[in-house]
């Protein structure tokens, strides 16, 4: 082959790849029943279920992932006059008040919204519908404690007990969403006057602070694949469902007295191009079938009370019965100050 034919061949290959890429992405045309579902990058769904819904309803759903929950909320607020979709799913209780205050959503009450989801209702006009719940709880490596002959800690107070010195790893509330939830959990347990004192004791008890969940859970925690040095970590109530050994026994456990409830909401966007079909998609998110597959796909709990958990979950990772919650407005108004105080305590 001469240089010129090589050059042409290479250009052809590259050109075709690009063409595929550009054409392949234009799957959605001007269908009258098209809905864009704006969500965060933890979105996962049973594909067959989604395909089935689209087939029976005649609605074409385009999913658009938009970074983490915080980035999603910021995006929705920035584009409120000309929204980037019809329906948003994944705005969580930490960021919900920002979106509500800015008038991002319009009211809609889904037919199944009163089957448990109403427990997490934020405003009377029902602009947001709770879809799932993901509690942040302290997780323990039960095998580690059995081996040391040490009782498993159960409460916040235990974690500050010198017997458990150097065992806990948490995430930085300034940079991590579970880290912030844990901080809010201590706020709820000890109140505005006692929480800093509690963290002072945790610090004295040699708590380790990581920037994010990946490092804390996958690397520093002894009960995960990383087999790290610390047997106590801040993670989710659902995490033990993923740490089950070959004979079906969970290796870790969530401490149900240390949980903070994070709720994820969906809502129809103000100014949506296709609000009617967006409402139908929201109904789909509230349907029994969608709610049932939430644990397996996204490691969260259904917001509906009448939907059963998968078999292994009820023993390994039950929904904490009374997780702490703070009012979103209170969180929004104070988090900057609280995180600032926390940071002063830890970084000086």
């Amino acid at each position: 082959m001469t240089a010129v034919t090589r050059l042409l061949a290479a250009l052809l290959v590259v050109g075709l790849t690009c063409a595929c890429s550009l054409i392949g992405s234009q799957t959605r045309g001007g269908s009258p029943h098209a809905v864009t579902l704006v969500t965060h990058n933890s979105w996962a769904v049973d594909k067959a279920l989604l395909a089935d819904f689209q087939k029976t309803s005649g609605i074409t759903i385009t999913v658009s992932e938009n970074g983490d929950a915080g980035a999603l909320a910021t995006k929705l607020v920035l584009t409120k006059t000309d929204p980037i979709g019809d329906l948003a799913y994944g705005v969580d209780s930490t960021f919900a008040s920002r979106a509500l205050a800015e008038g991002v959503f319009v009211p809609y009450r889904s037919q199944n919204a009163d089957k448990g989801s109403q427990r997490y209702q934020l405003d009377d006009t029902r602009r947001l519908t709770a879809i799932d719940v993901g509690d942040v709880c302290v997780n323990v490596d039960t095998g580690w404690f059995a081996e040391k002959g040490l009782a498993v800690p159960t409460t916040f107070a235990d974690l500050a007990d010198p017997r458990y010195k150097g065992l806990l790893v948490v995430e930085n509330p300034a940079t991590s969403s579970p880290g912030l939830a844990f901080l809010l959990g201590t706020m709820s347990a000890f109140g505005g006057s006692g929480w800093l004192d509690y963290w002072t004791r945790l610090k004295a008890n040699d708590v380790k602070v990581d920037a994010g969940w990946n490092e804390a859970y996958s690397q520093d925690f002894s009960g995960s694949a990383g087999k790290g040095p610390r047997p106590v970590v801040v993670s989710y109530a659902s995490s033990p469902a993923a740490e089950i050994d070959k004979d079906g026994k969970p290796r870790t456990r969530a401490l149900l007295d240390t949980c903070y409830r994070q709720v994820e909401y969906a809502g129809v966007l103000a100014g949506a191009r296709n609000p009617d079909d967006a409402k139908k998609v929201l109904d789909f998110l509230m349907s029994t079938k969608f709610q049932e597959q939430l644990p397996g796909q996204m490691y969260v709990y259904p917001a509906r009370a009448d939907v059963p958990l998968p078999g292994a979950w009820s023993s390994a990772a039950p929904l904490p019965p009374d997780a702490a919650r703070l009012a979103p407005d209170q969180v929004q108004a104070n988090r900057d100050q609280w995180v600032g105080q926390w940071r002063t305590l830890f970084t000086g």
Binding site: S21, S218, D336
Partner: protein, 526 residues
């Protein structure tokens, strides 16, 4: 209007539309979202914390750049000057660190340096950027005539003296180019700083992210963004001034005539380069080992849709998505970058100041926060008649912004080093403008051109920030799949994440080998 100006206009329009306008929009929005923008900006700028932020941002970036240059130079020498078995493979493999997701490299460095602190941040940033130095400098070095240094040696200069007095001035523009790029990458590095600093060490980049996304403090973020742009421009101007003094026409030679077996003291350099390669390999090997911790379970799961169909697409689909997205971005960036480099190389002879401003503008996207740009897209592009905000084109566009300056920095030093008399001679012999460009410029810069394409492709393959942030339908690329998997509990998910890393490395090596293989037989050396 001269044809040159027309050619230069295309990159400028692209830069204006997909960089300057979005950034200005989001900063403008931030400032107008408060009733007293002046005091909001002043509050941030006069805060003593801000000074520390700027200091730490610049300090860690400078330290990482110095290390990247020192470690990258011996590699550049080996790649450019040595005829040794396995050099081809080395040239390809050296880019692997660059493509690895920061989350994975961050985790690896946490194992290697458990004490934490500033040192792992600096070393991890250097780890990513050694390839930038090795390849940018190697590109020019591979074409510089040996006869100058041989003459110096014949006149009694030591090997070191000949290097310092003859070789170093010749390749200085490439070193400064590489250093500028590495510096900007380090200054805007996000994941590494967060992970290895435990959230305690903060840079302008991490602070802009936190203020925008977590705290929704848009005025504060806008003030920090302006500070970031100003800082980057200042650093770039210093770099440009230093570089301008060094650029001269060189006697350019084909690489075939230059590479030879190392002799005498050169083996010491080869030894140092080998040590650098070993150091680069340590984190990579640890990743491969992790991926095999439970045999091939992770790979098997990745070939399908994972445990309980947790993956939205199979690993193979993700590979295909990555390859497609990277191809788009590279083609676009090559078009923009080569046009810009040609214009700049011509401008450096006539309109010096315009050239410098144009050059600086092209570099700026490397130094501006991805968060600022990403949210800027949302704010700005919605007002276009064709709503591009949800377009699949946005990802390659955003990637092209990052790759274009790399292309320019790789190709431009070579084009500028082409002796103008060669072009004049070709013209005298009757060649038209295009023919001159093909025979002289392309002939001599071909290797750099292909190297730029290869490196651009790598950047696009490894790109995560823009890809995860900009609207993206169900077509996740490998880095996105890795991030998803690693953010889940469970042993198999972890195995799959590391298996996906290894697949990403293999895809990278294969892609770069294909591009480089194509070079060896055609463009570079006809």
């Amino acid at each position: 209007m001269s044809p040159l100006a027309l050619v230069g206009l295309l990159p400028l329009v692209f830069l204006g539309l997909f960089f300057a306008w979005p950034v200005a929009s989001i900063v403008g929005l931030g400032l107008t979202s408060t009733s007293r923008p002046g005091s909001a900006v002043l509050d941030v700028l006069t805060d003593s914390e801000t000074l520390r932020l700027v200091g730490f941002t610049l300090g860690q970036a400078a330290a990482a750049t110095v290390i990247a240059v020192l470690a990258g130079m011996p590699l550049a020498f080996v790649l450019a000057r040595c005829k040794l078995p396995g050099i081809g493979l080395l040239r390809v493999a050296v880019v692997v660190p660059f493509v690895l997701p920061t989350v994975v490299v961050g985790l690896a460095f946490r194992v290697l340096m458990p004490a934490g602190g500033v040192a792992p941040i600096v070393l991890a940033n250097a780890f990513f950027n050694i390839a930038v130095v090795a390849r940018t400098v190697g590109g020019l070095w591979a074409h510089t005539d040996r006869r100058g240094e041989e003459a110096a040696r014949a006149l009694g200069a030591s090997r070191w003296r000949a290097f310092v007095s003859v070789v170093l001035p010749a390749i200085a523009p490439a070193i400064l180019s590489a250093a500028a790029v590495a510096f900007l990458f380090c200054a805007t590095s996000f994941g590494v700083v967060l992970m290895l600093g435990g959230g305690q060490y903060r840079t302008l980049e991490t602070e802009i992210y936190l203020r925008t996304v977590e705290l929704f403090d848009l005025p504060g973020a806008a003030a920090l963004s302006m500070l970031q742009v100003t800082t980057v421009v200042a650093v770039l101007i210093i770099g440009a001034v230093t570089r301008r003094r060094k650029e001269t026409a060189l006697g350019m030679r084909r690489h075939r005539e230059i590479a030879r077996r190392p002799v005498g003291g050169e083996w010491v350099v080869v030894g140092v380069a080998s040590a650098v390669v070993v150091a680069l390999t340590v984190p990579v090997v640890s990743l491969v080992a992790r991926s095999l911790s439970n045999g091939f379970a992770g790979y098997v799961a990745l070939a399908g849709h994972g445990d309980q169909a947790t993956l939205q697409v199979s690993g193979l689909d993700a590979v295909w998505n990555s390859v497609r997205a990277a191809s788009d971005a590279t083609v676009l960036a090559m078009l923009l970058g080569v046009l810009s480099a040609v214009v700049l190389s011509q401008l450096s002879r006539s309109g010096a100041l315009i050239g410098e401003v144009f050059d600086l503008a092209l570099m700026l996207p490397l130094g501006v926060s991805a968060v600022t740009l990403g949210f800027g897209y949302l704010v700005a592009l919605g007002s276009l008649p064709l709503d591009l905000r949800a377009s699949p084109l946005l990802v390659p566009f955003a990637q092209a912004l990052v790759i274009t300056p790399l292309v320019v920095r790789t190709v431009l030093p070579v084009l500028r080093a082409v002796d103008e008399r060669l072009r004049q001679a070709a013209g005298t012999l009757g060649a038209g403008r295009l023919r001159v460009w093909r025979e002289i410029d392309l002939g001599l810069a071909g290797r750099a051109l292909v190297a730029a394409a290869g490196f651009g492709y790598v950047v696009a393959l490894g790109e995560f920030g823009a890809t995860s942030f900009l609207a993206r339908p169900d077509a996740p690329t490998l880095p996105v799949v890795i991030a998803t998997l690693i953010a889940r509990p469970g042993e198999l998910n972890n195995d799959m994440a590391y298996a996906a890393c290894v697949v990403l490395m293999l895809v990278t090596v294969a892609a770069v080998a294909a591009i480089e293989g194509f070079r060896a037989s055609s463009v570079g050396e006809f």
